[in-house]
Symmetry: C2
Subunit: 421 residues, 2 copies
């Protein structure tokens, strides 16, 4: 077949959708396709809301959902795009009102775009699927705009940070989802009434997923120890920091559960690192840029381990949004940068340090037994005032759960509960 066939020459057989394999997401849409065709191999679809979407043939063929291209058992692709003919082109493009039959149990709503390729292969794309993944600028910007945005906070927002109840989260999926969404947005929530029995923090953590283990164990006990391998296990003041910047991937969310707190001192302080980074970006842009571009060493070593990682103090994502803070002063190794760059770099580092002490960014709380703070360890720095270990017992337990797990659970709960908030 020729790549220059126009859609009006489409054989009638392409009018029927082919059976497809769909995944767990419905991709519903209220917008309908009003016309479709192709020119110079680019497939065009016009929609009832006047949007015009364009689809590259390689992209469309790569995403064929048919039962020859997808394995129904696992809903995973078995076709490899390298096996498409090098002169790949659509031979016909037709909208049908019927829904594509799904070989998996999930329902797919119609209508469907049916494409016949120049090698005879047939593909069917549900309208909702096409609309959800379209690669025109408007559709891409719309998707981008739906990405969750962080709620950035300072001391004045202390009363806006949400508190959740252990029993509610343990028993109710809606409450679990509300908690995780609050946690993702603000990076810090308090849970009350967690049983003060050891390992009780595993209940809420395992409602989400598995634990991120480290060399400090799965569940780590925070109390002062006679031969500590970290400042966390002493009674000294701990300045604001993220945990384990010495690892390539810092642990995502930290769960910190108070079992006993009879000691004098030891108050907890939380600082939104994104708020500091944002202020730095606005007030000292050159220093901000330097801290996003200069890898700094973090080291942690004892008699059995020697962890080191070099990464920027502030990381940006693909959209230049602030995505991560990596900072524990007590774990910093010597900066490996040219001597002549040190003055500007230390100016920036000192600025950042002074901001971690600024009361406008700090929320201070005394942990009471049954409290569990959960915070994004790659965003929210935590600190602890010195305490007097002779004045009474103090025992916290901690675990880590990575960002991947929180995001996966939110998606699954939204799918189950059919919410999109």
């Amino acid at each position: 077949m020729s790549a220059s066939l126009s859609s009006c020459e489409a054989p009638a057989s392409t009018d029927q959708p082919v059976p497809i394999v769909v995944d767990w997401r419905p991709f519903e849409t209220t917008d309908t396709m009003t016309s479709a065709g192709f020119s110079e191999n680019i497939v065009h679809v016009a929609w009832s809301d006047s949007r015009k979407t364009t689809f590259d043939p390689w992209w469309l063929r790569d995403n064929c959902l048919c039962t020859r291209c997808y394995l129904p058992l696992t809903r995973e692709q078995i076709f490899e795009i390298v096996d498409a003919p090098s002169d790949l082109a659509p031979a016909s493009v037709v909208i049908s009102r019927e829904a594509a039959p799904s070989v998996t149990s999930d329902t797919v709503s119609g209508p469907t775009l049916n494409v016949t390729w120049n090698d005879g292969h047939k593909s069917s794309y549900p309208a909702g699927w096409l609309r959800a993944h379209a690669t025109d600028d408007v559709s891409r910007a719309e998707r981008q705009a739906k990405n969750p945005r962080p709620f950035i906070w300072g001391a004045e927002h202390a009363n806006k940070l949400r508190t959740f109840d252990y029993e509610h989260v343990m028993e109710n999926n809606n409450e679990l989802l509300a908690w995780l969404i609050a946690l993702r947005a603000s990076g810090l929530t308090l849970m009350k009434n967690v049983p003060t029995k050891a390992d009780s923090l595993l209940g809420p953590a395992n409602r989400i997923s598995h634990i991120r283990e480290t060399n400090f164990g799965r569940v780590f006990d925070v109390k002062s120890k006679p031969t500590p391998d970290s400042a966390a296990y002493t009674s000294v003041n701990l300045p604001p920091h993220t945990d384990l910047p010495t690892r390539e991937l810092q642990p995502g969310f930290q769960f910190l559960h108070c079992l006993v707190n009879d000691a004098i001192g030891g108050e907890s302080i939380f600082v939104d690192g994104f708020a500091i980074a944002q202020a730095l970006r606005n007030e000292h842009p050159a220093s901000f840029t330097l801290l996003t571009q200069t890898p700094l060493w973090s080291w942690n070593r004892d008699d059995r381990t020697d962890y080191r990682w070099s990464g920027p103090l502030i990381a940006l994502d693909q959209n230049d949004d602030i995505s991560e803070i990596r900072y524990a002063n007590f774990l910093r190794g010597p900066v490996d940068a040219p001597t002549e760059k040190m003055p500007t770099l230390y100016y920036a580092l000192r600025l950042f340090q002074s901001m971690t002490r600024d009361s406008r960014f700090r929320i201070e709380r005394r942990l009471t037994p049954g409290d569990m703070w959960v915070f994004d360890n790659r965003r929210v720095m935590h600190a602890r005032r010195e305490f007097d270990p002779q004045s009474g017992a103090r025992h916290l337990q901690g675990v880590y759960v990575d960002r991947d797990e929180i995001n996966s659970k939110i998606r699954v709960l939204q799918r189950l509960l059919k919410t999109q908030n």
Copy 2:
């Protein structure tokens, strides 16, 4: 004190090193300091091999090792550089022949650079420490050159990949170190004679550190299952891929242990992704660059999870060296890029796919019971030929151990065994 004091005006008291806190590394050097001083606040040290090193005052003060700046109990810094005076400057710089007294048990060899600061604080730096961390261009380039380089392989190097014996690795630290260094260099080693009892792979893994758990468990069993949540748990052909590109941090090293293999088919194939990336860089630089810069979606979803991550197929490190491959065709989600960029992107993707099939890059082996392949999952793609589950039993077990753990263990063993290879 004035920042313009020269070293010849140094008070005699600075001649004695102050007590310092050293970490677990010796930082020995055979080079000695021949002269030291400062001008415009930059500290200069000349060495017996004619090297001239320069030290910024902020950097030096930040790295003060004294017992007021470092907590001896944890060997962690308690000083924060923001607490140095804003007009920080050296007041005197003197070399002493004595070693700085260490309050930790480790020995520090002399001589020592003693700096007195304009606020009266005194710092002492062992020569070996200074030399190991110096920030002049020559010292930085020397450190850079010592970074381990990968051994990149293709089919013709199959006999250069090393094989290790289970008992030797379990009982001998030198053999453990040799194994880990080979693993880091080539990303692929075979271990023979691993007991064919379930969970035996935990022995070598726990010689290194803890396991990286995923939603597939700590130890995952690879056999065909009636309701698989991944193509790995079917009997179909699995093309070359990295595991879990759907996670922000793909698991580092994969241990794949064969307990039973009586089925027809199911041969294992390994492909060095760094070799493909390097060939692409040399032969198709524009495609290479595109694959390092374009984030591609990987998705994995079942009824309880929904993992997604978007990252480039080839990642580069801070030095533009190839550091990671992220690729599983059966987990790719629709590419989210502008329609007009698709032709060049799919050209690059098809090139990469065709190279994963090229025999020059592939090593194929049939697993026999007691074999354990360990490979860098972020570099070496693995594949499996289709097998006939009716023809006999096939049972593998797998675990993941992250790169951080391998690197930490290598450093500790080198420290213990006093090797630097």
